[in-house]
Symmetry: C2
Subunit: 122 residues, 2 copies
Amino acid sequence: MADPEAVGKAFLQYYYQLFESNRAGLANLYQEGSMLTFEGQKFQGTQAIVAKLAALPFNQAKVNPTSMDFQPSVAGGIMVFVTGSIQTEGESNALKFSQVFHLMPVGQSFVVTNDMFRLNYG
Amino acid sequence: MADPEAVGKAFLQYYYQLFESNRAGLANLYQEGSMLTFEGQKFQGTQAIVAKLAALPFNQAKVNPTSMDFQPSVAGGIMVFVTGSIQTEGESNALKFSQVFHLMPVGQSFVVTNDMFRLNYG
């Protein structure tokens, strides 16, 4: 299978680039069975997930990963684990966060089947 | 399948109880294909994983999860995502951490196929 680290890094670069400036564009990375748990709130399916992400109270943000870990999954996919900080427009302080993705291959690409996001409050 | 939240919470209670005072006892939660990425260092298989965990430079610790998220995985297992703090003996300050597990059912129980751990440095 594809190298988990190479695929995972390319995915994160693409994902956070969209997250920073065009969250509606994340729709093509999810599918109907995809699950998002965002700060404990649960969403399922592309439409519900992207509606939540698009409704976050900022337009622009800058995501700075400080660690990125990757492992192959027993399903033939890739587990991705990120810690880092996010600076949203209008906020003076960056917020620390952790995020987990499970990616599954679909055709020549990958989709997010699982996504869990938490801010790590100081 | 089993309720991810109920299974996940019971798993975390059992896991961290062993982690706090008897890390060698974690051996029966891993198997040969299990993977651990601990602060970026990779280990595979029960023996290598438990050797790493047992060699951490403290005997006792107290783990305080502040968030626990659970999702079913496409493999029929459970994804577990924890953020919290860990206080080790001899350290005056608790350290914040994040950890991800993927659990798979084996017989009447569950094993850890994937484990990724990061400290979140302030």
